[in-house]
Amino acid sequence: MGTANWEIVIGLETHAQLNTASKIFSGASTAFGAAPNSQACAVDIALPGVLPVLNRGAVERAIRFGLAVGGTIAPHSVFARKNYFYPDLPKGYQISQYELPVVSGGSFAIRVSSGGTATEKTVRLTRAHLEEDAGKSLHEDFHGKSGIDLNRAGTPLLEIVSEPDMRSASEAVAYARALHALVRWIGICDGNMQEGSFRCDANVSVRPVGSDVLGTRREIKNLNSFRFLQQAIEYEARWQIETLEDGGRIVQSTVLFDPATGQTRAMRSKEEAHDYRYFPDPDLLPLVISPAWIEEVRAAMPELPEEMKARFVSDYGLSAYDAAALTAARETADFFEQAVAAAGAGNAKACANWVMGELAARLNREEKDTADAPVTPQQLAGLVARIADGTISGKIAKEIFDALWNGEGQDADAIIEAKGLKQISDSGALEKLIDDVLAANPKSVEEFRAGKEKAFNALVGQAMKATKGKANPQQVNELLRKKLGT
């Protein structure tokens, strides 16, 4: 058998750090990067006698997520203690949700491209629950000892668990990207993967194609980039298939991915031999979420990507593909909408092309976020409007876009003016120009007359060249044909 005979089954558990100003059970700040232990209060370091108090902001964000994925928001959910000893876990237990999570079910669409075509797939969610993060152990710089930084201890997390609906590493990455975009879209997580604000555990198993029984899974822990997620799953799936084909069997276990070698390795059984002894935390009352609270959160929800996509298609006449691309990230969609607002709905398609084309390419090349684009939506709208009204050609427009990007002018009009890039549409001037071109290129004229269509393009090119691209290409075409008598 080969890889083709096996089906890979993947489910993801994602920890999204909720962007509350203070921690989930204390008033300490959640800001990243402070001096070690400077943001750990009495509750975070688990002094004797301290008690947790739930941050409503964290719950509100969980509700927002539940609404965004169409999940069920539990009217009554319970915080439990997950008991284990580790130096960066100050209480000796993590407060999490176990039997009754705040969100159950829900789903969202991911776009999977393979072989140049993109298809849509719905991934179901099992649950999402609130919990606190642990601190950090620092094993370097302490000469054989370990340092403990509890700044992160108590940071609110939403653990989002998917059903095992993904069938390839690419699908898993598409899911993770879509989830990443969604949590940012609804404003509950900053999505900063370097800082650990969004990290995934992947449950991977394989089974013979056609089987509907799940294979034994191994869980790859703590993948904090999409690239590692892809590599780790690919390696793990290949390893499992080889193991099974060699007559071995998969033992359920937790594995770590080593980015240096690109390999996964099982953790020592000691590292995972835990009986967490979950039980309801007696320091916290059950979390009660009233319908009124849910409605309050719903009323403040931003338009969701799916809704916005449908609106882009119906209101602006965009293709489903374009609408999906524009709504893949909130910033992109916002940029587009602002540009359309300034340029007019009639220019929506042109705005979309510019946002997905030139803007996306430049951002990508310079590794910038949309929010940091030097060109504003209004500037782009001004540019698109000048193309639409024939002031400039598309080619010149790219030059102007570059100038805007480099901060060479306040808006497209200023640059057109300063650089004299206005399109020549005056038919008298163009007619003279065409006459000159025809006179100067008798050979091309002859070839055209002999039936070579290519020669026509050469003549257009000469006309454009003579005007440094400023001639209105449509008019040049028309005038040339007229003069050549076709």
Partner: protein, 483 residues
């Protein structure tokens, strides 16, 4: 002054008959003289107490005194107090100076009381005799050969020996009421959620409740006025309007219906205690109350249910004592696991370890349903028994403990016998109800007997009313040990 009520002390302070500093000195002197034999205090405030007394005197001079300003109190060493050693009776915290105040401590500070010291207690409040303390057993002032009860045994002995006019205690399964009974005091455990648990080192979170221990119901009412109140830092604290717990003290008892559960008078109750309690009930009838026979059919399950739930919560609550950030760390160890094992093995005493083991066991995979969930079901049944009972009565009364104070060492070797000394108090914690103990007689060897009064939820004022009326008619609460 040592026998004065809090009201009398406040009046003397207001009339400038005595200063807070003089009062503090008087009690500090008594502590210096009598505590070495009693071992009621782990820490004595000394100059720190006097500084608080000077502040109180200044406040009184400014005319800003509250009802308890300038009055000395002692706090059970389970309450974190900023700048004070806070040991919880354990070697584990023998070096722990709290950097913050418990809410209860904050409230006493705001009231202007003077902290005389921190009182001895069973280690992490686990015990009924004060023999599990790392700091050694406390002696009962009525008889140095007897235990003071526990876990708030230091507070009880200190008040009984007049080393302090009043003290705080905590009650998880009887730890205020049982030592109050054994030392001839009045002690009150409020409804769960009335007194903030913030800064009170947790034993079993769903059962722990702080409360006052003093010589009379009236004193307890004034102390509870300071201690009680909503605290946003404790999620289990109840948000209710503030109340004056002394408001009903003077109401007559005519028409009061007292439920007497037959289960409280069954096998195990010693005759001397039964007799004193019966006499107290007769006194209540004389005061105009009626007694009704009631039943709490699931009472017998309260001790087993308690010894699943309390250790379960404790096993988790005590995980933070790991030697990493504060408290005892083994001087020598190998790897991390070894550091944990040695630090905890050395830092905790035998009873604490026993309960951590029980708690860990009952929460373990495969046992959770059979033990923990089953105990929670029993807990609901017990609470329902009380709801039913309170349909026929206003208060429930019976013995606080099955015997008077037992001798030191008597039950130390037999945990189950020890656990049974809380047989009448535990159900109250499981149900979250308020309960108190008042002195109602002398039993064998002249040792005090406690009458337990159990109220319905938020029935503190009513309980205090019944206790105060009894204390107006009797003098058991005025009797002091012969030291």
């Amino acid at each position: 002054m040592i026998n004065a009520s809090l009201k009398e002390l406040a009046a003397a302070l207001a009339a400038k008959q005595v200063s807070s500093v003089e009062l503090a000195n008087q009690f500090l002197d008594r502590i210096a003289r009598l505590n070495p034999a009693l071992n009621a205090f782990i820490t004595v405030g000394g100059e720190k107490s006097l500084a608080m007394a000077r502040d109180a005197d200044a406040r009184i001079a400014r005319g800003e005194a509250g009802p308890l300003t300038g009055i000395p109190v002692a706090h059970k060493d389970i309450f974190c107090a900023e700048g004070w050693l806070t040991t919880c009776g354990s070697k584990m915290l023998a070096n722990f100076v709290s950097p913050y105040d418990a809410t209860v401590i904050e409230r006493f500070k705001a009231a202007g009381t003077v902290t005389l010291g921190k009182t001895n207690m069973d280690e992490f409040a686990m015990g009924s005799s004060n023999e599990t303390s790392f700091y050694g057993p406390v002696k009962n002032p009525w008889d140095p050969g007897a235990v003071p009860g526990g876990s708030s045994g230091g507070s009880a002995a200190a008040v009984a020996a007049r080393l302090t006019p009043a003290a705080t205690g905590t009650d998880t399964g009887g730890s205020i009421r049982q030592p109050a009974a054994l030392c001839g005091l009045t002690g009150l455990k409020p409804t769960y959620g009335v007194v903030s648990r913030y800064g009170m080192i947790a034993f079993a979170s769903s059962l722990d409740q702080g409360g006052p221990m003093a010589k009379s119901a009236e004193d307890c009412a004034l102390l509870l006025n300071v201690m009680a109140g909503f605290d946003a830092r404790d999620s289990t604290s109840l948000e209710r309007p503030a109340e004056d717990y002394a408001r009903d003290l003077d109401k007559p008892l005519a028409g009061l219906r007292i439920g007497v559960p037959k289960e409280f008078f069954a096998e195990g109750l010693s005759a001397d205690v039964a007799q004193a309690v019966e006499a107290a009930l007769a006194e209540y009838r004389r005061l105009g109350a009626t007694t009704v026979d009631i039943s709490l059919p699931n009472m017998k399950l309260s001790v087993p249910a308690y010894y699943v739930i309390a250790p379960a919560e404790a096993s988790s609550n005590l995980s933070r004592f790991d030697g990493v950030r504060y408290g005892w760390r083994a001087p020598e160890y190998g790897d991390l696991a070894d550091m944990y094992c040695k630090s905890r093995a050395q830092g905790f005493g035998a009873e604490v370890k026993r309960r951590i083991l029980i708690g860990t066991y009952v929460l373990s995979h495969g046992y959770y349903d059979a033990y923990y969930l089953q105990a929670q079901r029993i807990r609901r049944l017990i609470a329902r028994d009380f709801v039913e009972a309170f349909k026929d009565c206003d208060l429930i009364m019976g013995p606080t403990a099955p015997t008077v104070a037992f001798d030191l060492g008597d039950k130390a070797g037999d945990p189950v016998q020890m656990y049974l000394s809380d047989i009448y108090t535990i159900a109250v914690n499981l149900a979250g109800l308020p309960g108190m103990s008042i002195p109602c007689g002398a039993g064998n060897q002249g040792r005090p007997v406690g009458l337990q009064i159990i109220g319905d939820y938020f029935g503190e004022a009513r309980m205090l009313n019944a206790a105060h009326q009894y204390q107006l008619a009797t003098d058991w609460h005025r009797r002091a040990p012969p030291i």
